[in-house]
């Protein structure tokens, strides 16, 4: 069964990437502290009125996720370039897309762990009522992160291999993420509003996130073969 083989290849990549990250932790710790710092900086830039801060907290949370997450993606390929590991990885038999899917899942795990610390921190700093609709908020976080990581993993496959990678990745990635940012911020703000999402606004934004995620998952998987081949 070829899909089982592919699934095991994806698992192997995920395991390899997460093990490398777990053993060094260098990247994770730095990204978490950067995320916390970004939350503080947004607080200083928008404060100190807690009412106003709570109104824009959805936007602050998502921009913090984007700014700190983008630091992780290049790293996921840079470790492959050291010692020519990517060339060896490409020599293994099987579909190229399993490399992409493996890295996607590994990056998703990484971002999820960052959010596990980032979101409670934001809730504390900005006094956000996350208890209102925890399941809906978690699904918005998951859907938003999935689309973000899909495109981030895809563009980093190119950006990590050129000069000026630090500026090129956000330049390529962020314009594409505007529908996701708008949808995620609107849904999050609706759910965090006073008394929860009384207007039921979050549903249509969640649908937008699902459509966005599906379209770009298919598009990136289809095109990735051409990006990595060399």
């Amino acid at each position: 069964m070829s899909w089982q083989l592919e699934a095991s290849r994806v698992r192997a990549i995920v395991w390899k990437d997460l093990t490398a990250e777990r053993r060094t932790k260098a990247n994770f710790n730095a990204v978490v502290f950067f995320a916390a710092l970004t939350l503080l900086l947004f607080g200083f830039a928008t404060g100190p009125n807690p009412e106003r801060q709570r109104e824009i907290a959805g936007g602050i949370l998502w921009l913090t996720i984007l700014f700190s997450g983008v630091l992780a993606f290049n790293r996921s390929y840079e470790q492959e370039l050291e010692g020519g590991a990517l060339d060896v990885l490409l020599l293994y038999p099987g579909e190229r897309r399993s490399i992409f899917l493996g890295k996607l899942v590994a990056n998703l795990g990484f971002i999820a762990l960052v959010e596990l610390i980032l979101v409670p921190t934001a809730a504390l700093l900005y006094q956000l009522p996350f208890g209102n609709a925890p399941l809906a908020l978690i699904s918005v976080l998951a859907l938003g992160s999935f689309g973000f990581v899909t495109l981030g993993t895809f563009y980093a496959a190119m950006a990590s291999r050129v000069r000026a990678r630090e500026v090129l990745l956000p330049l390529l990635l962020f314009p594409m993420l505007v529908p996701l940012l708008v949808g995620a911020v609107e849904a999050t703000s609706a759910l965090l509003g006073p008394g929860g999402d009384v207007m039921g606004n979050s549903g249509s934004w969640i649908r937008l996130l699902i459509v966005f995620d599906l379209i770009f998952l298919v598009a990136t998987v289809l095109v990735f073969d051409y990006v990595i081949e060399d």
């Binding site: 050129v162 594409m176 505007v178 529908p179 966005f212 990136t220």
Partner: protein, 239 residues
């Protein structure tokens, strides 16, 4: 021809120079026609004339990005360098025309709407298209290998083109929730012919610019090949 470089790209196509003159005269003629025949608009007055560049530039920029999309797909399918070079030429022309569209739109918006900028779906989508293709051109500039540059920028061009309608729709929903969307009145007939003529003239401009830029890129590749050959054989470069 004494140097061999021109041979690599072949002589310039015979139609290119006359077509360039035709395009120039076409644009001048259409602008003069449109400006002379259109009465001052009820609300905008002579400010309306800016639309004869703004609208054609926007239309042709969209057409240029459609070319990028088509030639990117062709390149990934056939792997012929010329498809990559046409896509890149169209992206450059499209980016410049998009910047022109935004600049003129802003100049028009200030007296008409009272602001230089508003978060209207068309406006924001145009700005994001500019950013997406600025990224496309930056990626090309930073990539060394020709084939890699072709594949990568084709991927960015295809995904960028797919993203445009999603951006437009999402901004539209975003705006309708927060405030009603601004609507554009349909264009009346005294202005329609001028707009149509200028759109055609700008389409000719697109063809001319893309063809010329493509030719320069071909010559550039020819020079590169000569230089590599000279470096390998220790001979002198004949440029």
């Amino acid at each position: 021809m004494p140097n061999g470089v021109m041979d690599d790209a072949g002589p310039p196509p015979r139609w290119l120079a006359p077509f360039g003159w035709f395009t120039l005269l076409f644009i001048i003629g259409s602008q003069v026609f449109a400006i002379m025949t259109s009465p001052p608009e009820q609300n905008m007055g002579h400010l309306q004339k800016i639309l004869y560049v703004h609208v054609p530039a926007a239309w042709v920029a969209g057409l240029a990005f459609l070319l990028v999309f088509i030639y990117s797909l062709l390149f990934l399918w056939k792997r012929e360098p010329r498809h990559d070079l046409v896509a890149a030429a169209a992206a450059e022309v499209g980016t410049i025309l998009t910047a022109l569209t935004i600049a003129l739109g802003s100049i028009w918006a200030r007296p008409t709407w009272g602001v230089w900028w508003t978060w209207d779906p068309r406006l924001t989508t145009t700005a994001l298209v500019l950013m997406i293709f600025a990224g496309y051109l930056a990626l090309r500039a930073f990539t060394e290998d020709d084939d890699q540059r072709g594949r990568w920028s084709a991927a960015v061009g295809i995904l960028g083109f797919v993203c445009v309608p999603i951006v437009y729709m999402s901004v539209k929903w975003w705006r309708t929730i927060h405030q009603p969307q601004s609507t554009m009145e349909s264009v009346d007939s005294p202005y329609a012919i001028g707009l149509l003529l200028n759109s055609l003239a700008f389409t000719a401009l697109l063809v001319y610019l893309v063809a010329s830029r493509y030719r320069i890129a071909r010559l550039d590749r020819g020079i590169q090949a000569r230089e590599e050959e000279a470096a390998l054989t220790g001979g002198r470069v004949h440029v």
